[in-house]
Symmetry: C2
């Protein structure tokens, strides 16, 4: 089945311990759609400025991302710049220039309004509500990502849209802050009570926890000897996750678990290079090998029927 993503396309200037890159292709919808496009037909709704380079449109097209709703407007493309420390989990934003993104007000073409899978990437929750309301048919799966900025500044709109989605992606700090609860299990349970069937807690290099009614799944992150640039890891994770669900249309608990592993696969590729260099050049063999490496990473022998653990104390 096909996927629709609404979010940002940006030029990022990033400095990490591995080096620095200026005005490199980035943005939530970019990483997401490149990751998801390996698995499912993906249409991108976003806005760029007059400076957006043709080679980057071509890159998306090479991935067979539908760019017919990638709007070009007078002005400059959204720009973000930041620095990561030796601890890749810590980042500092140096500058944000919204440019054409400041006026982004997505209007869905009629053919997009019945897409069965929808990803609302990190944008103003009021716009996320608006996009959802433009759908003629309620998608099978609506997923949403957000950030601390909206939790602090637009909690009401965000709570409203969270109540209307199926899958919520948040990082550890965001989930605690949004739920007002320091314990992650109770925070996730509180958010499941608002409406979503699935809460995905992103923990960077510590993997993810997927909370669903009656089932919790821990997907490990793949330990990498060289992390170049963590930018886009979360959106690439979401792209792998929803790409798998849309491609298989398997919404069983089993399907969600595999989706999380494929998310972890795509997130791990995203951080191996600056920009979309690595995530944009994967082969089927690359992806299968890493899926199997994560399988090997988390494999252990469960207790067989009738087998018990060694025990020497009388109860």
């Amino acid at each position: 089945m096909s996927l629709l993503v609404v979010g940002s396309v940006a030029y990022d200037s990033v400095e990490t311990t591995a080096g620095r890159r200026n005005d490199a292709l980035g943005g939530s919808a970019t990483y997401f759609s490149i990751a998801s496009s390996y698995f499912a037909c993906t249409s991108l709704v976003a806005v760029v400025g007059e400076d957006f380079r043709d080679e980057h449109v071509e890159l998306l097209k090479t991935h067979r991302v539908d760019t017919s709703s990638l709007e070009r407007r007078p002005g400059l493309t959204f720009r973000w710049s930041g620095v990561y420390g030796a601890d890749v989990n810590s980042r500092e934003t140096l500058d944000t220039q919204l440019n054409v993104f400041a006026e982004f007000s997505p209007k869905l073409q009629p053919e997009l309004r019945s897409r069965p899978y929808l990803f609302l990437a990190n944008i103003d929750p009021a716009l996320q509500v608006d996009v959802l309301e433009q759908m003629d048919v309620r998608p099978k799966v609506v997923a949403l990502d957000t950030m601390d900025f909206w939790i602090g500044g637009k909690k009401d709109s965000l709570t409203r849209v969270v109540g209307s989605v199926d899958v919520l992606f948040m990082d550890e700090g965001e989930i605690r802050s949004f739920a007002g609860e320091a314990n992650l299990v109770r925070a996730a349970e509180a958010i499941l009570g608002l409406g979503p069937t699935t809460v995905v807690v992103k923990r960077g290099e510590h993997g993810v926890l997927v909370f669903r009614d009656g089932s919790t799944f821990a997907a490990p992150a793949f330990p990498l000897p060289h992390v170049v640039d963590p930018t886009g890891a979360g959106d690439s994770f979401a792209g792998g996750f929803l790409g798998y669900l849309a491609a298989t249309d398997d919404l069983s608990d089993e399907g969600f678990r595999r989706a999380a592993i494929l998310g972890s696969v795509m997130g791990s590729f995203a951080v191996e290079s600056f920009s979309t260099d690595r995530i944009g050049s994967l082969t089927q063999e690359d992806v299968c090998q890493r899926f199997q490496a994560i399988t090997e990473l988390s494999r252990f022998a469960p207790l067989r029927d009738g087998e018990s653990l060694p025990w020497r104390i009388e109860d």
Copy 2:
């Protein structure tokens, strides 16, 4: 097979968001031996003061921990007090009174010098070397825990003893600091190069990574809705880990993986109460149930022979 642990027995005063407890039974060797004793015969080498309460000796004996080398000396038992924040990974030490522990200089009784499994809990690395040298027979497995204090202050002694052990337990920050390498994979590889066959990176509520030559295993932590007191989680983890190895004598990669899961089981119980209340009152059923819960937590369908992931891009 039987286990020997050398470490601290203490009285801890702890404050967490769940409450506070004064002068409660604690110490690395206490948590370790209670956890390991469910699985393997465990002898404890430690020192306590005249104030050490009989009920606590009885508690260890109830677990069939061999306390014949629990030395009682004039003076007071080692005391530690600390406060944990809402983020259970952050703790502040308020006070440390070494008391009789300041003069701790473990002398192994002859019958302990041929124990096949040895755990050197977090004490001065010079003492850890000394204990290892007292062994008449090199144990099958020597494991070691340490802390940032020794990495900063006794790096040379620590490096020497690390080079002589099989299994090293460190937390994320410690492993980075000890190896002088921010990347965890490369830090673990550097330490494997010093001698240990197994480096266990403890990540608290994010689980552990077990690095071995040619094999990496990620064991998740069990997500708990109520964490009461994180004190002792790492030592209880080590107790479950080595207790399993000693009980089964299974030193295959498979054995180490299951050992890590059982470590995770025991660590999860340790944090559910203050002191040893929960870890000290487990049944076989409790432990099996949590082992199975962690199995369920990390379960997903691997690719079957010949199965491929959905794919729509031509390579």
